[in-house]
Subunit: 334 residues, 2 copies
Amino acid sequence: MSQREDCSDFYKGRAVLITGGLGFLGSNLARRLVELGADVLLVDSLVPDYGGNLFNVADIQDRLRVNIADIRDENSMDYLVRWQEVIFNLAGQVSHIDGQRDPYTDLDINCRAQLSFLEACRRFNPKAKVVYASTRQIYGRPLYLPVDEMHPKRPTDVNGINKMAGEWYHILYNNVHGIRATSLRLTNSYGPRQLMKHNRQGFIPWFVRQALDGEEISLFGDGSQLRDFTYVDDAVEAFLMAGASPAADGQFFNVGGMGPTSLKQFLETLLDVVGSGSYRLVPFPPEKRSIDIGSFYTDYSKIRSALGWEPRVPIAEGLRQMVEYYRQHREHYW
Amino acid sequence: MSQREDCSDFYKGRAVLITGGLGFLGSNLARRLVELGADVLLVDSLVPDYGGNLFNVADIQDRLRVNIADIRDENSMDYLVRWQEVIFNLAGQVSHIDGQRDPYTDLDINCRAQLSFLEACRRFNPKAKVVYASTRQIYGRPLYLPVDEMHPKRPTDVNGINKMAGEWYHILYNNVHGIRATSLRLTNSYGPRQLMKHNRQGFIPWFVRQALDGEEISLFGDGSQLRDFTYVDDAVEAFLMAGASPAADGQFFNVGGMGPTSLKQFLETLLDVVGSGSYRLVPFPPEKRSIDIGSFYTDYSKIRSALGWEPRVPIAEGLRQMVEYYRQHREHYW
């Protein structure tokens, strides 16, 4: 029996809270937890433009609970964390661009609210296991490839700095205050239920949207930049395994992906899956150039050794499922 | 002519702002800048228990300006940063213990206010050079010794996490917004004008106070923990050189010290300088054990190569000057 099957049993009947639960990762995780028989509570504030979307769980709304609240709302969090056995802490401001435009909101959500959320856990639910959604962005422009967890953290934007602090609060509360916490550093995740309304939350959904709309896609630079790509089902499995395993306590892991693949190759695979579309290479705009990180892909051997996780879904297959999903449900995302 | 002399000329007639300017490092830096003929403005909010002390500059008060204001006060900072050529940004909450007890205040000062201060510079004084006072604490418990700048950042308390973010905002504003910024990671600094009223800002001043008061000093653990120690005049020179040198722009440097020396050896040197006193080894209290970092000392070859800085004042000599200062001015610090 693989570790994946073991960890599936773990969630049956278990009280699980997901902050940011109506978003891309949160809703996909919720769907899997409902299948596994968990008692799921989603907390999400539906901040416009942030990714929360009630349609993401509309077909399973009678199999879980939804509580609309903001992670910055300390009193609500003090109550909502109680009695939860596993907490997937996914609420965050995830746009690099929004973080540069409004660094204070980014700081309030990605630093201050993380601290107050952990304080809520410490005071009202110190036995909880917390799994935090971090990001490869904390590494910044790589000094070497693939990037392992020991790589220096040199984030290239405010969002990356605040996520770096938010992650480390979790590790600190594990080390000092006895909460069990794990941080997962996600790379380029993609799949169904990702926000498609604007292009400020990463390039993949925007490429998919443009391809489906038959628009010519602009790729910055020469397209040779390498990336790794994680299909959302693989990312969800990493969260489930981290939530279930004591070996993950106090640890931070790169959740790597398929690749490395060049952006050009990724885009060509996408256009092939969609069956139409085109792209052209354009020079970097100056404001993007200054925070561009060049090639980036992760070494995920740490999580493979500790938890047995590795990505399984090939890029072409993941994109096929993603494209099919949005063809069916376009009106809820465009 | 040494680099130190070069950089001294640089400050003659130059407009210099020091945030936290009434504190330990700030006031010693101010005194040196006044000697060099700089036009010095000190900004300090005199938060009780934080280290700001008007006596630190009482004898030179007609040779500089003092503006009482808090770095969290955005409107005041928007004004005060204007026309300054070099800004030494030393305002901060520096107590590990206070940071654990009140993490939100630590976050407001060491993260949010740093961000708003840099925004003030970007909008109202983008040509400024900013030198930030960071700390070895961002490294946490060392994985190897001596600790160089590439060592992973794994802070062991809230204060260390927030300082890590505060430092990186400076590097970001250098890289993205065109401000010239340098971060100096200080190790154990000591000398005249250090806060002596309580023991929450590091062990050195408290040891000195207890030795001068003839109290038995408690040393946690077996006293074999290694540290490096920087006399404040050496630290001041590092700030001056970083402020004057384009080679420092966008860089972060360990400002190392004399040593490595065991805490026990340091304490014995202190008692020898004082000429009386005693100590005993006591076990770590649990709350200190959880954030203790063991032995720590820095590799300062990066700043030596880039700026020509290295520590010059031996520990016994530094302690002699420190002890003499407090013997003379005890009533302003106890």
